[in-house]
């Protein structure tokens, strides 16, 4: 009886919805993308989430394009010239560009936007990180932008790539922080058509774009709060591509003949790290508690733990094989900056035990846990992770097992992320933590985390301090020669790898999928995988 009732409702609703189908004309090519997020805001100054940047990349232009191999190409300007001392950049903006609303796009817009980012301290990323070297920015009557820097820097491309150019005629009159920018007048390959936060973003093609006119007519990003629904949606054809999925779904999607799975380094690098508090009490910053276990300051301990960490097992169990073992905070996704010449510490319990024996850490009371050489304290470490981490609980169990085999015991405890931040840095009130970073295409941001300078700011989580490294960090910031800078960056990675500052269990991988029966031309053969990147979305076309 009850079943029949429900069935009747179902039929009624289906009948109601049946009249919503139809439409006879030539179907526009609409790409439906499913993702688990939504932009936090469309105001480029206030945005923090990757999803917002994905949309900016499609709707706005910037001076440079970031390619999937990690390189940059000049986009808005025909040419870029730099003065001999490296401080004055002159960009000749292409002529005849137009905003989506038909207004002309000129060097004046570019200069105005750069000045806006430079002079608005409320823009957390842009102002703090990308514009500190800007001195003056001016537009010339020849449609040129002259950018004068306070000092020569080696990475002007990565400093400018996320500074999307805004239309002066729209932005001049709005409140720069409160403006929600829902209309989003841009100049890029796609135009904003409709936006409902946490529901969808609908973009239409700008077929007149100067360098990348899309072949499809529309792209729709739909938000799925539930990743199982996302998987089900691509399986049943409700979406044509998904930008993420639970790793557990990968195997079954691979088996679907109409779905192609792609795995690779993400566009925005992500790292999962095991953090050792090795802060020298002499460096304890103001307000610090600095309660780290003294043993962790000894490289031998960290080296032994590195040898006792079976990264492949961690990847197989936690990520179901979808990830790469890591070396330092600089992930493989950073392309040329990643030091691929380093060889990881092999998983070897015998060797690990040997190192500890030689260093004098013996188990004197026979409880299976080694003590400090002076017998003062057992090698028992607190292990914390943010309670919202999905992977960390499993990792902590595996680590307890692996390190237990060399006489090191752990006290695992999940901690509220806020509380963990307070405990972490610059308080240094912990022994070991599992956490992670997300960052920038330029290696500087992540390299900074290892510096002595970062200890009081809260960016350094290990308390690592090495004058040689600090000097190299400064050098790479001013080294203008690309090859020379890369060599320094590689050398820095070698230093922190040899010092076992962190154990990096794995680099996060992007696991995405697209339907092969809908669109073709997705870029999948690059170092990084991002199907929602502009480079892919302007290339794809409907399957005939």
């Amino acid at each position: 009886m009850k079943k029949k009732m429900l069935f009747t409702i179902l039929i009624a609703a289906l009948a109601l919805s049946a009249c919503s189908g139809g439409g006879g004309q030539a179907q526009p090519a609409i790409v439906r993308v499913g993702w688990a997020g939504s932009p936090d805001t469309l105001n480029p100054g206030m945005a923090i989430l990757t999803e917002a940047y994905t949309i900016f990349e499609l709707v706005y232009d910037s001076m440079y394009e970031l390619n999937l191999d990690g390189s940059f190409t000049l986009s808005l300007a025909e040419s870029a010239n730099v003065s001999d001392d490296g401080t004055v950049w002159t960009f000749k903006i292409r002529d005849g560009l137009k905003w989506h609303d038909g207004q002309p796009f000129t060097a004046e817009d570019v200069a105005w936007t750069y000045n806006l980012y430079k002079d608005t301290p409320e823009y957390p990323y842009l102002n703090g990180y990308y514009t500190p070297y800007f001195d003056t920015i001016e537009a010339t009557p020849d449609n040129e932008v002259v950018l004068t820097l306070t000092e020569a820097i080696p990475n002007i491309e990565s400093q400018l790539v996320f500074l999307y150019i805004l239309p002066k005629h729209v932005w001049e009159s709005v409140n720069k922080t409160e403006y929600e920018n829902v209309e989003m007048v841009g100049s890029g390959p796609f135009k904003m058509a409709e936006y409902v936060q946490n529901e969808f973003v609908r973009l239409t093609a700008n077929k007149d774009h100067f360098s990348m006119p899309p072949k499809v007519d529309e792209v729709i990003f739909q938000t799925f709060e539930n990743q199982d629904a996302l998987v089900q949606a691509i399986r049943t054809g409700q979406v044509d591509m998904v930008t993420e999925m639970p790793n557990t779904a990968a195997e079954s999607l691979k088996a679907d003949e109409n779905i192609e799975l792609v795995v690779g380094a993400p566009l925005a690098p992500g790292v999962t790290d095991i953090i050792f508090n090795q802060l020298d009490p002499e460096n304890c910053p103001e307000g610090g508690i600095c309660s780290g276990h003294p043993a962790l300051r000894d490289r031998n301990i960290r080296l032994a733990m590195a040898h006792a960490t079976d990264k492949q097992q961690l990847i197989d169990v936690i990520l179901l094989g979808l990830g790469n073992p890591g070396l330092t905070l600089i992930p493989d996704g950073l392309g040329v900056w990643y030091n691929s010449s380093l060889t990881d510490y092999e998983f070897d319990l015998k060797k690990a035990n040997q190192i500890l024996d030689d260093a004098g850490y013996a188990d004197t009371d026979g409880d299976g846990i080694r003590e400090m050489p002076d017998g003062s304290a057992p090698l028992t470490f607190r292990l914390n992770w943010p309670s919202d981490s999905i992977n960390a609980p499993r990792m902590s169990e595996l680590l307890a097992e692996m390190w237990g085999a060399i006489g090191i015991s752990l006290e695992p405890q999940a901690v509220d992320p806020d509380a963990l931040t307070a405990q972490c840095c610059p308080a240094f009130d912990f022994d070991i933590m599992i956490w992670g970073w997300a960052s920038d295409p330029d290696p500087s941001a992540l390299l900074y985390v290892y510096t002595t300078e970062a200890i009081p700011t809260g960016s350094s989580e290990t308390g690592y301090s090495n004058p040689e490294y600090d000097e190299l960090y400064t050098n790479q910031q001013v080294e203008l020669d690309f090859e020379a800078r890369r060599d320094i960056v590689w050398q820095m990675q070698k230093i922190v790898f040899d010092d076992v500052v962190y154990i990096i269990p794995f680099y996060d991988a992007n696991v995405q999928a697209y339907r092969t029966d809908r669109f073709t031309g997705w870029i999948t053969d690059q170092a990084k995988v991002e199907l929602s990147d502009i480079t892919s979305l302007v290339l794809i076309e409907p399957v005939k």
Binding site: K2, S20, E122, Y129, V196, T223, F224, L230, D416, T421
Partner: protein, 342 residues
């Protein structure tokens, strides 16, 4: 006259409860550990200055309350501060002006976010409640009428199962089943439908509503069936039913004119209470089906530690529960003259 005064008194009590909730709600989110300005943002590109700018923007640099020397012997708060510049005063002032602050995450007014979401939830809960009340009450009457037959046992059995099903589990099962039937698994409408005729848009929304509403209805129908059945069985054993039967009235007349109105009372209580508690169930349903309502807003806000949104949502829910209870109190007197308002 007496009745009017009683109603006024009840309303006044509800108002005080709401004021209490407003105060509690403020402190609830301020005693949580850590710094909301830093939570969820872990990027070496964010330097100290940038974090400070965020804190200033959301007023987090200001003291929570100032200290009232006489009222608070432990000296909580900062005594040197002008009370007009405390977070609590600003919160109270904004609230009176109908503002709930700015979302940490979305950089827009909380009122706008909740306003958008509220109607979607009302739509979902409204249709779901109406369906489950009608179906639940009908099954309940049916079960009581067929008491001590195998039909009753089946109805009770199914209802018990439906009532005890975990909401998210049923939702996921229906999602998988529905997706193979071609039903949409996420959202309120197909993106890009807004240019179509209204009727087609409604059809599209109905299609999207089907699975979440079905989940909702199944979960609540069981409960209403059980309550209706037991309450009706109680009433049917009363003497006046026996005398009605002796007067020669038929079953329909007895049920309609003598039994049902009395048997409705417990159901009304449960419905009123449920209106508040359903938000909990709706969080699960909405987040499984990505239904853009209040429940999924709460879910996202919890994940992102968006305290202003949570604070606003909690306030809204508290007010709803209090008003629903007030309404139930007042409805009682109408349904059963024996119940007086005081």
């Amino acid at each position: 006259m007496n009745r009017t005064r009683a109603v006024l008194r009840k309303t006044a009590w509800s108002f005080f409860t709401i004021v209490f909730v407003v105060v509690l709600n403020f402190f609830l989110f301020r005693v949580l550990p850590g710094d909301p300005a830093r939570a969820g943002i872990r990027d070496p590109r964010l330097n100290k200055d940038a974090i400070e700018v965020i804190r200033v923007r959301f007023g987090l640099d200001k003291p929570i309350i100032n200290c009232f020397d006489s009222l608070n012997p432990v000296k909580v708060g900062n005594c040197a501060v002008n009370p007009l510049e405390t977070q609590f005063f600003i919160y109270a002032k904004n609230l009176i002006q109908g503002e709930l602050g700015i979302s940490y995450h979305a950089n827009r007014p909380v009122v706008d976010i909740l306003g958008e979401r509220l109607w979607n939830t009302i739509l979902l809960i409204g249709v779901g409640q109406i369906l489950s009340i009608i179906l639940g009450a009908a099954f309940g009457v049916f079960a009581a009428w067929k008491a001590r037959t195998s039909l009753e046992y089946t109805a009770v059995g199914i209802s018990l199962v439906a009532w005890s099903l975990p909401t998210f589990w049923l939702a996921i099962l229906l999602l998988f089943w529905g997706s193979t039937m071609g039903l949409p698994v996420a959202g309120k409408a197909t993106p890009g439908m807004s240019s179509l005729p209204l009727l087609q848009q409604w059809g599209d929304i109905a299609k999207h509503m089907l699975l979440p509403t079905l989940t909702y209805t199944i979960i609540y129908m069981g409960e209403y069936t059980l309550i209706m059945r037991s309450s009706l069985l109680d009433v049917l054993s009363e003497d006046y039913i026996l005398s009605a039967r002796a007067k020669g009235l038929n079953t329909v007349q007895i049920l309609r004119d003598h039994a049902l109105k009395n048997a409705m009372l417990p159901l009304v209580t449960v419905i009123a209470i449920n209106l508040g508690f359903t938000v909990a169930g709706v969080i699960q349903i909405e987040s499984v089906f990505s239904w853009p309502g209040l429940g999924s807003a709460i879910y996202e806000a919890v994940i992102r530690r968006d305290f202003p949104v949570l604070q606003g949502a909690f306030l809204l829910i508290a007010i709803t529960v209090i008003l629903a209870n007030l309404l139930a109190d007042l409805t009682y007197t109408y349904l059963d003259p024996r119940v007086t308002v005081d």
